[in-house]
Amino acid sequence: MIKITELEKVYRTEEVETVALNKLSIEVKEGEFVAVMGPSGCGKSTLLNILGLLDDPDAGSFVFNGIEVAKFNERKRADLRKHNIGFVFQSFNLIDELTVFENVELPLIYTGMKAPERKKRVEEVLDKVQIMHRRNHYPQQLSGGQQQRVAVARAVVNKPKLILADEPTGNLDSHNGNEVMELLTELNEQGTTIVMVTHSEHDSRYSHRIIRMLDGQSVTENILI
């Protein structure tokens, strides 16, 4: 599903040049659950942003679903993104002014789905993440674990092929963290590919394979299954 080859990304300011990705090559197959680990500044987040089509690489190739997307412009990336990729962030990133239901509904609005169908789909997903009873609450009225479950629901409501999770349990206690990890595992078992950046060895054990990064390169790969 994902194949990147010799990917490079360099951040420049006036005085310093930081190499975030240094000829990185990895591959993720459909249905896999991959954890990306490594110390701060090793390029994990940059990798995730590029995989999520939020950022573009300076050099190298990125084939997504058989299409070369490394040179896509913003508009094309946005199009591809909204139909194929869901995001889960460490800090949830829910819109405070919208209710749980409306937050989850948002991606469907941008794909132009009709209201009755949206309602059905959102309710399905909310049911799945067991947050249906809180559908009319605002994010601040929920616990961290509940907020992250809403964020996961929003990430999957479009039925994306790929979910990118950036330290999804980073802001949660272990109990809530485990709940979210189990939710992700469940989604993976239903066929969604997941790439997750994490610091937690505990969380990484939920994945099939761990990619360890250092200075913008992949150093080892442990296959868990």
């Binding site: 987040s45 942003n49 999520g52 939020l54 950022d55 913003e74 508009r75 946005a78 199009d79 993104r81 909204k82 139909h83 995001f87 962030f89 800090s91 990133n93 829910l94 819109i95 405070d96 002014e97 919208l98 409306e102 948002l106 991606p107 609005i109 941008y110 794909t111 929003r154």
Partner: protein, 787 residues
């Protein structure tokens, strides 16, 4: 999608109540001011634009030299109208309109004095004042016909049909109502409640063929294809043809489109002055106030951008394109602008009555008009797009990666465009503060000027009906009943000049002297009645000196012109009479309190009289005096109402115009300061949010609250000082130009600028320090943890 946008927009408004109130209120005040001013401008430019033949209607003017300067004015000889029709093929019709006068209308026992005009019978064919009843070509044909306005007809006849009814006018002649006019619109220079035919004036012996008598207005209707220039070429040489003594006296015609707004001449040429100056000035002020309100909106919106940044990021991540985000934010600002628009209309409705009395107009919003709705919606969308465009582009350009990862940082606290804006706002505000102070000073200065007579307890009454005939009886009874201490017959009210002229002769006069003298007449006792000061000689006293009927009193300015060593007994020849000087008075203000007093000649009882001046007895209350005086006037002038006026009220009216300008300047200054403060407040909020981490670090390192508040306020105060440096010279220049029209005026003092500068600094400090102190006292732990 729209529903989602609306939802977000409304929830945002509700969540940030303070911000929303500032934003909507600021925009609403800006819009309301702009609407008021636009209504005013609309009424000014629409003056007399409803006449069907407006493009062919002109007014005849004179241009002639006096004391070395070309003067222009628009009263013309009565003979001009027929002469133009006869001599110039381009002229289709000419119409004479005399000064609106009041006449007594009697219908049976009902009596009313009403203001109306005497006009040539073709008046209604030239001007488009629609008749509800009657035929425009014939209504004024007969000498005994009268045309009433709808309101007057109602007043006189109630619901009865007035057509064909008889009205006795001035207790002399019977007139038949031949037509009913629709009430005049407010935006016309004409002001009459009825029209009488010119033939009645002729019947009264008040018509003449004399080219030297400039006493009526002459309007000219040109043929559709006639050229103004060719008519003017002929007008230039018209007067000398009929009046051989005035070889250089020119006349010209002036188009209707310029009557209201221009009509201002210096030395014989249009000088670009007139009301157009105010129309332009107000237009600029309206645009500025709206612009400032809009830019405030931009500032406040961008100031909150951090809070909206996450939303933008998420929307982008889940698939929003930049275009749809721009659409969303502009839509939001149109929504705010719409709410502000509603509030603005309410504000306008509330402020129209005082604004109308201030500007002496009857402006209103015409809710039934499609133009109102179209222009209103256009105005709202324009304001919304104008105010929302910058925030929309600014917000929608956020990079989601940065926003959502918390690495999002904004630029420096005070960005240059915002600095420029604050400077612009405060420059404007400071200019208006300075103007307000100087206008008020000038009014005070003129109001405190010595008038030269005693206005207290002094009333006048114009001669109506039998007053002139019964004057001795009325005077006698006023004095004997103790109502008045002194009564004098005069030519005009003490606050107006009804006659002036040159060409008097006296011993030793320089033959080139063309000094213009005010002419005033009194029978006797004006010195006592009005409290004048005599520097030489005495007042008229007909009992002791019967020859005082051809006596003359001059003022000190006149004495200076005439250069008599010993003026008493000297002869002044004027209007064919030899007057002998009996006294010299100190100058008093007859006309404008802003002008130096002019030379003045007061002629004795042989002259003409129109007014009586009564000094009430101060031992009685004013109400008692008025009651008794009314009874006496009624007794000797049975047919007419008692219509007195207080001289001090009349004098106070001389300041109306300047008072109005002063109030308007105060109003605009207040509004600008208000809106500018909102802007400053928004910027201070923005700054406080931006520097929250810096403040936290400084506090952890030991900075005091006072030190931090100063640090945060300093930048803004610098901007106010820069504004002051720009505003002061502009205000000085503007006010100099304004004052130059007043011969009797103040000099601009430096402390006015100091006060304005300090005031604006103070306002800025109060506005900014609120946010600065709030930011400074905040717990640093909180602000630092957000990293």
């Amino acid at each position: 999608m729209i529903k989602n946008y609306l939802k977000i927009a409304f929830r945002n408004l509700l969540r940030n109540k303070g911000f929303s109130i500032i934003n909507i209120a600021g925009l609403a005040v800006g819009m309301a001011s702009a609407i008021l001013i636009l209504l005013w401008i609309q009424s000014e430019v629409s003056y007399d634009q409803f006449h069907e033949k407006k493009d062919c209607i002109y007014e005849a003017w004179n241009r002639a030299e006096f004391s070395g300067e070309l003067q222009c004015w628009n009263t013309t000889p009565k003979v001009l109208a027929r002469t133009l029709e006869r001599d110039m093929p381009e002229v289709e019709q000419a119409v004479r309109v005399d000064w609106a006068n009041s006449h007594l209308f009697s219908i049976g026992e009902k009596r009313l004095t009403v203001n109306g005009s005497t006009v040539d019978s073709n008046f209604l064919q030239v001007f488009s004042f629609p008749l509800l009843k009657g035929n425009a070509t014939t209504v004024l044909k007969d000498m005994h016909s009268v045309v009433l306005t709808e309101t007057l007809a109602k007043k006189l006849y109630g619901s009865e049909d007035p057509m064909g009814k008889i009205i006795k006018i001035d207790n002399k002649e019977n007139f038949t109502v031949t037509g009913i006019l629709k009430d005049l619109p407010l935006n016309t220079r004409f002001n009459f409640e009825y029209l009488l035919p010119w033939s009645y004036k002729r019947f009264l012996g008040d018509d003449d063929e004399y080219w030297g008598n400039n006493s009526t207005r002459t309007y000219v209707l040109l043929k559709p294809n006639a050229s103004e220039a060719s008519v003017n070429a002929k007008m230039k040489v018209l007067k000398p043809k009929y009046e051989k003594d005035e070889p250089k006296w020119e006349m010209f015609i002036y188009p209707m489109s310029k009557w209201r707004l221009y009509s201002s001449f210096s030395n014989g040429k249009e000088d670009g002055g007139g009301r157009i100056v105010f129309v332009k000035l107000f237009g600029i002020i309206a645009a500025f106030i709206l612009l400032i309100a809009c830019i405030n909106f931009m500032n406040l919106s961008t100031a909150r951008s951090e809070k909206r940044a996450k939303e933008v990021g998420i929307r982008k991540v889940v698939g929003a394109k930049k275009g749809s985000l721009i659409g969303q934010f502009i839509g939001e600002s149109i929504l705010i602008s719409f709410l502000a628009g509603i509030l603005a209309v309410i504000l306008v409705q509330l402020s129209l009555p005082p604004f109308n009395s201030l500007t002496d107009k009857q402006l209103s919003i015409d809710f039934g008009s499609i133009y109102f709705w179209l222009s209103g919606i256009g105005f709202v969308i324009f304001t919304g797009v104008l105010a929302g465009s910058y925030p929309a582009f600014f917000l929608s350009s956020f990079k989601p990666v940065k926003v959502l990862k918390g690495t999002f940082k904004k630029a420096n606290a005070l960005v240059t465009p915002r600095k420029v804006l604050v400077v612009l706002q405060f420059t404007f505000a400071i200019i208006l503060i300075i103007c307000t102070i100087i206008v008020k000073q000038q009014i005070d200065y003129a109001q405190n000027r010595e008038t030269g007579y005693n206005k207290n307890n002094l009333i006048y009454h114009l001669f109506t009906g039998d007053i002139e005939k019964n004057y001795p009886l009325i005077k006698n009874e006023l004095l004997s009943s103790g109502v008045a201490t002194s009564v004098t017959k005069t030519s005009a009210p003490l606050t107006q000049s009804w006659s002036d002229g040159w060409g008097q002769e006296w011993e030793g006069k320089d033959p080139n002297d063309k000094t213009d003298f005010f002419r005033y007449n009194e029978d006797e006792g004006l010195g006592a009645t009005a409290g004048l000061t005599f520097v030489q000689g005495r007042d008229f006293d007909l009992k002791k000196f019967p020859t005082d009927s051809t006596g003359m009193i001059i003022n000190e300015s006149a004495l200076k012109v005439m250069k008599f060593k010993d003026p008493i007994g000297k002869i002044v020849k004027d209007n064919g009479t030899e007057w002998h000087i009996v006294g010299v008075i100190k100058d008093f203000i007859l006309t404008s309190p802003y002008e130096p007093t002019k030379p003045m000649l007061i002629a004795g009882a042989k002259a003409w009289f129109q007014t009586m001046l009564v000094k009430f007895n101060s031992k009685n209350s004013t109400a008692q005096n008025l009651n008794k005086a009314e009874a006496i006037f009624k007794k000797y002038n049975t047919e007419y109402p008692f219509e007195y006026k207080f001289v001090d009220d009349e004098y106070a009216q001389k300041f109306d115009n300047e008072q109005r300008q002063g109030t308007l300047a105060t109003l605009f200054a207040g509004l600008t300061i208000f809106i500018s403060c909102l802007g400053l407040f928004g910027l201070a909020t923005y700054m406080a949010e931006n520097r929250i981490k810096e403040i936290g670090v400084r506090k952890v390192l030991g900075a005091s609250v006072a030190g931090l508040a100063t640090l945060l306020s300093k930048d803004f105060l610098k901007l106010v000082i820069v504004s002051f440096a720009i505003a002061a010279p502009i205000a000085w220049w503007l006010m100099n130009a304004w004052l130059i029209d007043y011969k009797y005026r103040i000099t601009i003092e430096w402390w006015v600028f100091a006060i304005a500068g300090l005031l604006s600094l103070l306002i800025a400090i109060i506005t900014v320090s609120f946010q600065a102190i709030k930011a400074a006292v905040a717990n640093p732990v909180k602000s630092l943890r957000t990293e």
